[in-house]
């Protein structure tokens, strides 16, 4: 990280034009400048100047309510680096107040090796007996809804393996020479979405990539970084850089939130190693889309799909076209347009847990648009979004399932007999 201003300099370019206001989900929810990018930039500037104390409750309140979705960045004509500023501000706040117990507990439970294993095991047990209808708007029932939303298609991988890792069948015809990619497993993704990892490996193999497992990898550190625990995030980042080694192989990530941070390890660490690591990180849709041709076509799936681009993919990584290529490779599949698709769903990592009120307000708008679009499936490439959307759809009584786009391609390939 840049010595001295630690990311605050990313805010200097702001000319207060307000073009970001309508892109910001929290501003749309409350209409309050303090919940807008421009307002938060003022807060952060005041914090850096020392006009506002790092313990100022209102400052903390409004920065906590930021989803970190960075929808404000791509619309900014002045090129303000909001995300960097936010990280710097959150680091200051966290350093001063410490982390809230809830955040602490959540990060600990979800990302600590050993602990999280137990948590996820228990969660998987639980979700296998929960019906979709359990989801509701209260804290607990929404949470349970989120958990149910993590179920893989027909619980396939789980039914077969009880969630344990197994050899993925490879494609029947493999282009020669196959390239290799290293798979990033993450914590939540690994604990609850291992079926997405399996789908990732299978679909990549059809498209000429062999995936390698990398031992010793850790959580990406995004939850920590977003909670202002920059030092802990740095420890994790260093561990991952170590684990993935110095090779040139792409590192494939299927969780947009993880990918976004890993691509910015250079900024996080302020080290050349991190930058180099970052250039290797690829979202799974980037690899599958290849050099523009798009993935190998599969069998037709007669589905109406709404694509909900995760903020960390669309805004943070600026990946918009590649996921669409995945859908295009599935004949018959129809993408239904959704108003405000590019707006955040309100998940944002731990946000849904820590700021339920704002999170639900943002989610409600999204659900209204989805109800109108009436898809069968809502696809999104981030675990948090899938859980948030899944729980929200169920709670709102909208009949649509949530899937990672790779799962859909995987189904299409399976029907096409590519795995036989």
């Amino acid at each position: 990280m840049t010595e001295g201003r630690l990311g605050f300099e990313g805010l200097d370019a702001c000319v207060h034009c307000g073009f970001c206001l309508q892109a910001c989900p929290t501003f749309l929810a409350t209409g309050d400048e303090s919940d807008s990018p421009r307002g938060r930039i003022e807060l952060m500037r005041a914090l850096e100047r020392g006009d506002l104390a790092v313990t100022d409750p209102a400052l903390i309140y409004h920065l906590d309510r930021c989803l970190g979705c960075r929808a404000c960045e791509p619309v900014c004509p002045s090129g303000v680096q909001y995300g960097h500023g936010l990280e710097a501000a959150r680091a200051r706040i966290t350093a001063a107040r410490g982390t809230t117990l809830l955040t602490r507990a959540a990060v600990w439970a979800l990302t600590t090796p050993g602990v999280s294993g137990v948590v996820y095991w228990f969660a998987r047990r639980l979700r296998s007996v929960l019906p979709r209808g359990i989801a509701g708007w209260g804290r607990i029932r929404f949470a349970l809804g989120m958990l149910v939303a993590t179920k893989g298609d027909r619980g396939r991988d789980e039914a077969v393996n009880g969630g344990r890792r197994r050899a993925t069948p490879t494609a029947s015809h493999r282009p020669v020479p196959p390239r290799t990619a290293q798979l990033f497993r993450g914590c939540v993704q690994e604990g609850l979405f291992s079926h997405v990892h399996e789908a990732t490996k299978r679909t990549l193999s059809v498209n000429g990539y062999e995936t390698r497992e990398v031992p010793g990898q850790r959580c990406c550190g995004a939850l920590h970084a977003h909670a202002g625990l920059l030092d802990e995030a740095r420890v994790l980042a260093r561990a991952n850089i170590q684990a993935f080694g110095d090779g040139d192989e792409p590192i494939v990530v299927n969780s947009a939130g993880c990918g976004a941070l890993m691509k910015e390890y250079g900024h996080l660490l302020g080290e050349e190693r991190g930058t180099r690591f970052g250039t290797r990180v690829r979202d799974v849709t980037e690899l599958l889309a290849g050099d523009g041709k798009g993935p190998v076509a599969g069998a037709p799936l007669d589905l109406h799909v709404a694509y909900d681009p995760p903020c960390h993919l669309l805004h943070a990584q600026r990946i918009g076209a590649e996921p669409l290529k995945l859908f295009a490779a599935i004949p018959l599949l129809q993408l239904v347009p959704v108003q405000g698709a590019a707006e955040c769903c309100g998940s944002a990592g731990l946000f849904t847990l820590l700021e339920p009120e704002m999170s639900r307000a943002v989610l409600e708008t999204k659900l209204e648009h989805l109800r109108h679009a009436a898809p069968q499936i809502v696809a999104s490439g981030n675990p948090g979004c899938l859980m948030q959307l899944g729980a929200g759809l169920a709670a709102a009584g909208i009949h649509a399932a949530v899937r990672h786009p790779v799962e859909l391609l995987d189904d299409s390939y399976r029907v096409a007999g590519r795995y036989e």
Partner: protein, 498 residues
């Protein structure tokens, strides 16, 4: 300000819609022109018209002044509230109440974002023509208050030409309806008077606007020039020809480069001294084609190096996005920006533009021009770093000199951004004391106690006294001598900087 007041307000709008904390008030200290900074004492965000009325009645009863605010994209400090003043934020009043397809009009709440009204009209084959560059952010209420213009106002007219009727909440809490749905006034044109009054006559709570049919054919031309003068002359030629382009916009080199460096890069030639963006539209394809040819010819004859026509809708959109986001993109040039908004007779453009260059050179400053050339509405923007006091002084001197230049050319000090607090100091250059006094007197007809948005638009110290003004509402003689105001008039362009 007492927290008892905050409590009473919270009882009306709900606790979370009253901001009392210093940090929250900080975020409302500026509008789109951050060279001015005023921290309001209290911020209230009513969620309905009824809440807004109740809030204003409470404030009126207590005699507490207040300032309406839309999206806060204004460029004259109009939406800033001082100490002792409550800021009323109208962003939550954002419903489109009606789109009357057959009569081509819409009724909206003041907090509706300009572009969202446009989007709602589009499926009906209609548009809301005034398109300030800030349209993706600014509110219709703010547009009404500022009489906002935009690139396409050259042909379609500014906000004032599109507002048919208004429901206005006066400073004393009473509600009046101005104008009729057909646009014919009930007497003197109070709608026209209200539009552009910068929130000094009351708060627009319901706005009826005219919608116009979407054009059926649009041609967008990009012409590039190797000298600013040539581009200015091309504008004069086109205007004098009688063809009224839908838009005729100019951008100089420094601005072009800022845009090309931004996410809104539009493919403007970086080596051009200036570009003109001309758009011809209409309901009749043949007519549009013929006029486009004529304009192309005039551009060439005026010395355009190349004239390119947008081939697709995507390309057209890109050309416009570059223009509309140009002001924001100028944030790339430096920390701070002084935004100007003068209008000159169109035939004076070549001379004025050249002289502005000279002034900039004399002061060693970077001036970027991006503006509505067809209307003669200039926006020479000066980039600088406000942390350098010597530089700040030079910027101020140059600004004043540019303003004087425009006035001498027969122009005015603001074409669309309004006076607010930023241009108070120029008002006496174009209006004599009598005329300023008349304005102040009219303001007092609407708001005898000067409760709403005090200290804006009219530099009170420069007014000739209108002693015979009577208090309209109460029919009594107003015995205040002169127009005192608790709000000092700023004399410096860059008073408070971050």
């Amino acid at each position: 300000m007492s927290s008892a007041l905050a409590r009473d307000l919270a009882a009306i709008v709900g606790e979370r819609h009253v901001s009392e904390a210093r940090a929250e008030r900080f975020t409302y200290a500026m509008d789109g022109l951050p060279t001015h900074r005023r921290v309001p004492d209290l911020v209230v965000l009513p969620g309905t018209r009824e809440e807004l009325i109740a809030v204003v009645r409470l404030l009126a009863a207590l005699g507490v002044p207040f300032v309406p605010r839309g999206a806060g994209t204004g460029l004259s400090g109009g939406a800033l509230a001082d100490q002792g003043t409550v800021l009323l934020v109208l962003t939550r009043l954002n419903r489109i109440l009606q789109i009357d397809n057959a009569n081509r009009r819409a009724v909206v709440e003041p907090g509706v974002v300009n572009a969202k009204l446009g989007a709602a009209a589009k499926p009906h084959g209609l548009q809301y023509a005034p398109d300030p560059s800030s349209q993706t952010a600014c509110t219709v209420g703010g547009n009404v208050a500022e009489n906002a213009g935009g690139p396409h106002c050259l042909k379609y007219g500014v906000t004032a030409n599109h507002v048919l009727a208004l429901e206005v909440l006066l400073a004393d809490g009473s509600v009046v309806e101005l104008g009729s749905p057909g646009g014919e006034p009930w007497g003197p044109d109070l709608v026209g008077l209200f539009v552009g009054s910068e929130g000094n006559f009351g708060i627009a709570t319901k706005i009826t606007v005219r919608l116009t049919p979407l054009p059926r054919a649009i041609r967008t031309l990009l012409a590039d020039f190797t000298s600013i003068r040539a581009a200015g002359e091309a504008v004069t030629t086109i205007i004098a020809s009688g063809i009224v382009p839908a838009a005729l916009e100019m951008m100089d080199q420094s601005c072009i480069c800022a845009v090309e460096d931004s996410v809104y890069a539009a493919g403007y030639p970086r080596d051009a001294a200036a570009i003109l963006l001309a758009e011809i539209d209409g309901r009749n394809v043949d007519g549009v084609v013929a006029e486009t040819e004529a304009v192309t010819e005039m551009l060439r004859k005026s010395g355009a190096r190349s004239v390119r026509s947008a081939a697709t809708e995507v390309e057209r959109e890109r050309l416009w996005q570059g223009r509309k986001k140009a002001f924001g993109a100028m944030g790339r040039l430096s920390r701070d920006l002084v935004v100007q908004d003068a209008v000159v007779p169109r035939s004076a453009l070549p001379h004025v533009l050249e002289t502005i260059c000279t002034i900039a050179q004399n002061y060693g400053l970077v001036v970027s021009n991006v503006f509505h050339a067809g209307d003669g509405n200039l926006h020479p923007n000066i980039s600088f770093d406000a942390t350098d006091p010597a530089l700040k002084q030079r910027v101020e001197a140059a600004s004043a000199e540019i303003m004087q230049l425009c006035i001498d050319a027969g122009g005015t000090i603001t074409g669309e951004h309004g006076v607010g607090i930023d241009k108070l100091r120029y008002m006496h250059l174009i209006f004599d004391a009598e005329s300023l006094g008349a304005m102040q007197a009219v303001r007092r007809v609407f708001d005898p106690r000067e409760l709403v948005n005090p200290g804006k638009v009219v530099p009170i110290h420069a007014c000739r006294e209108w002693t015979s003004i009577r208090n309209a509402k109460f029919g009594m003689r107003n015995d205040t001598t002169g127009f005192n105001s608790a709000f000092p008039i700023p004399h410096s362009a860059v008073e408070v900087t971050r």
